[in-house]
């Protein structure tokens, strides 16, 4: 069920933009297609939307190859915003609704409801180029959601948004996922979207490097860090855990990396047996740390924020 992306390959001349990318997008689960700039995310989304044809591989939806008719029911928001500058905001949304197959009256009532949801209800008659950047961004979202798409694909929807807009866009996407839509978006700002994605497909240089549920990937990464504030500075108890490594040990602050197979709570107990623990915490790796580990890249090559 949902979207199945299988072995997609695509080359631009000699440059292999996509080299066998495979992953699934499950309905109701917000999925992030993550990776640095130039990883091939936009190319992959364009292939899914039929704007580009892959050299090989397939995109399937509900077990069938995706056709033109399926895509007409999808919603797509490309990376660079595309709106008619001279068109009134409301007409714009109605036009795209009709292109997606709605009747004029359906498109109009849906457009009104959406602009209200996105806080643009009093802008119906305003020319698009008279709206602020943030409003145009929301209008663009409206044009891709007007036909209640069952599949929503967004390319870098968060780039250039202020924190308030990030929260409100996230809420809109969560709400669509809750009612069972298949939601896929791409981003290079891994840590910004860490809390929004439930599943991720991480790509680098055209290949998938990390797949699966964010919570599970972070918990099982083996890069969990246990943070302890212990007195006195007795570290003898650590010798019982030879696989636990000390990341830093300054004054009373101790930071330990706890590999898979060792329960961090056991380590905490051992520390408490050795001395008084004032403060503690378990830090899971961020998505960018996971990416660095998976892509085996030095930090200076990464563009993350």
């Amino acid at each position: 069920m949902g979207l199945e992306i299988r072995d997609i390959e695509h080359a631009f001349g000699d440059l292999m933009a996509l080299d066998g990318v495979t992953f699934d997008v499950v309905p109701g689960v917000i999925t992030g297609l993550l990776g640095p700039n130039g990883a091939g995310k936009t190319t992959l989304l364009r292939i899914m939307l039929g704007v580009l044809s892959p050299d090989s591989g397939s995109v399937r939806y509900d077990g069938r190859p995706v056709g033109e008719e399926d895509r007409r029911r999808w919603g797509y928001m490309p990376q660079e915003r595309g709106l008619y500058p001279g068109m009134p905001a409301g007409d714009q949304v109605v036009h795209f609704g009709r292109l997606h197959g709605l009747s004029r009256s359906d498109a109009t009532s849906r457009a009104r409801a959406l602009l209200e949801e996105l806080g643009l209800e009093d802008r119906w008659k305003d020319r698009t180029d008279k709206l602020s950047g943030g409003m145009q961004q929301r209008l663009q979202l409206a044009t891709s959601l007007v036909h209640d798409p069952e599949v929503i694909v967004l390319d870098e929807p968060f780039s250039g948004l202020d924190p308030v807009a990030v929260v409100s866009l996230s809420e809109t996407l969560r709400q669509r996922a809750r009612i069972g839509c298949t939601v896929l978006f791409s981003s290079h700002q891994l840590d910004l979207v860490q809390d929004l994605c439930e599943d991720i497909a991480m790509v680098d240089r055209g290949r998938t490097v990390l797949l699966g549920s964010v919570a599970r990937l972070r918990a099982s990464s083996g890069r969990r860090q246990l943070r302890l504030h212990v007195e006195p500075s007795n570290r003898d108890w650590l010798s019982a855990y030879p696989r636990v490594t000390v990341v830093s040990d300054q004054a009373d602050d101790l930071r330990l990396e706890v590999p898979n197979g060792i329960d961090p709570l056991d380590v905490l107990d051992a520390a408490r047996a050795g001395g008084r623990v004032d403060d503690f915490g378990l830090d899971l790796p961020t998505l960018s740390q996971l990416f660095l580990a998976a892509a085996d890249r030095p930090l200076d090559q990464m563009v993350v924020s």
Partner: protein, 393 residues
């Protein structure tokens, strides 16, 4: 197929509404209408100053001569003024000095150096007719017999020369100019729309929903409709004037010629429109449109030049035949040849078929260029980048 038309219709509808709403369209159409009205009305106003002739006579002109001339003036739309002199010399001098168009003194009719045009003939006829009537009365004929004699007319003269002479050739020429201008204007409008859609990235959203051919055909239909409407607006005052008065100096044109002109506009427009659209898809910034469409504009200019030079001078020569059959020049060359009346029907049909087939072929080539070029941004796309290689789906 139903969906193809539905999507195409929506693209065309949007293009129409946006164009009709734009200030540029309103201003342009208003100007066209004004120009057209002026072209029809001004000659009427200027030409309506009734022609006035002056007849100089010795003493007051005889009442019967006046009556005959005024009657002739009524039917031929001129008025006659009279001046009188004391002697034959006064009359002669009046004509010589240009104070009178003709002078009547005894049995002499004075005219200016060039013979004075038609007025002296009219005066002479009036004098002859009056004198003849007087003699007939003296000979004892009754008024009925005289009226019967005077109703004798020379045989009616009807021109039967072929219309292919100057008037019709002029029409072909005018059609060529109008087609050339209309295609240039409409082509630029199409190129601007495509470049705008590419530079604002709307095209990417459109391509996710529609096929390139739908976007292209929709855009071309919208702008073609608008241009055709503007042409009709341009033609309306002429049509009205022809209905209201027959005094318009239009050359005698068969309705078939006008119909052909419209057909050629549609064919020529379809052909060039897709060339304009495909070239505009290559731009990176909207300001590059003019240089991107230059090759198309040049082709159009060359076709037009061929039409007005080669074809006009020798409509049945080998080069003319070639120019009127070759799809890129046919829309301008064929109407001129056709107007000259030297085209076998099969050549006309062949030219139309070739042009239409090329237009259809261009839709698919342009769609393929369009789809690939739209995704290449950041630099001017070279034709080499979008031709060859994998076929567009």
């Amino acid at each position: 197929m139903r969906n193809w038309w539905q999507g195409t219709r929506l693209v065309a509808e949007r293009g129409l509404v946006e164009n009709l709403r734009s200030r540029a369209f309103k201003v342009m159409t208003g100007l066209l209408l004004l120009m057209s009205i002026a072209a029809v009305v001004l000659p009427q106003i200027l030409g309506n100053e009734a022609t006035t002739y002056t007849l100089a006579t010795v003493g007051t002109a005889p009442a019967n001569v006046r009556a005959a001339l005024d009657a002739a003036g009524k039917s031929a739309k001129f008025t006659v003024k009279y001046v009188s002199g004391n002697a034959g010399d006064d009359v002669r001098l009046a004509v010589r000095n240009g104070d009178a168009s003709a002078g009547l003194a005894g049995d002499k009719l004075y005219t200016d150096a060039k013979g004075g045009g038609t007025f002296p003939v009219v005066v002479a006829q009036a004098v002859v007719s009056l004198e003849t009537s007087r003699l007939l009365v003296e000979a004892g004929l009754g008024p009925q017999q005289i009226a019967a004699l005077r109703s004798v007319r020379p045989p009616q003269q009807i021109a039967v020369g072929r219309l292919d002479s100057e008037g019709r050739a002029g029409t072909g020429f005018a059609v060529g100019i109008i087609l050339y201008l209309a295609i240039t204007f409409a082509g630029t409008a199409i190129a601007t729309t495509v470049a705008m859609e590419k530079s604002t990235r709307i095209s990417e959203v459109l391509l996710a929903i529609l096929r390139p051919s739908q976007v292209l055909v929709g855009t071309v239909v919208a702008i073609g409709t608008i241009t055709l409407c503007q042409l009709l607006i341009l033609a309306t005052p002429f049509a009205v004037a022809v209905q209201v008065t027959d005094k318009i100096g239009l050359p005698p044109v068969a309705a078939a010629d006008i119909t052909l002109a419209v057909v050629w506009f549609l064919l020529g427009f379809a052909l060039y429109a897709f060339l304009f659209a495909a070239s505009a898809a290559l731009v990176n910034k909207i300001t590059e449109v003019n240089s991107a469409i230059l090759p198309v504009t040049m082709t159009l200019v060359v076709g037009y030049m061929l039409a007005i030079t080669v074809v006009t001078s020798d409509p049945s020569g080998g080069w003319s035949v070639l120019a009127s059959l070759f799809p890129l020049s046919a829309p301008m060359a064929m109407p001129i040849r056709w107007a000259a009346g030297e085209v076998p029907v099969w050549q006309l049909l062949l030219a139309m078929a070739l042009t239409a087939a090329t237009a259809v072929l261009l839709v698919s080539i342009a769609s393929s260029i369009y789809r690939r070029a739209l995704l290449i941004t950041g630099h001017r796309v070279k034709l080499r980048e979008v031709l060859g290689g994998r076929a567009a789906s």
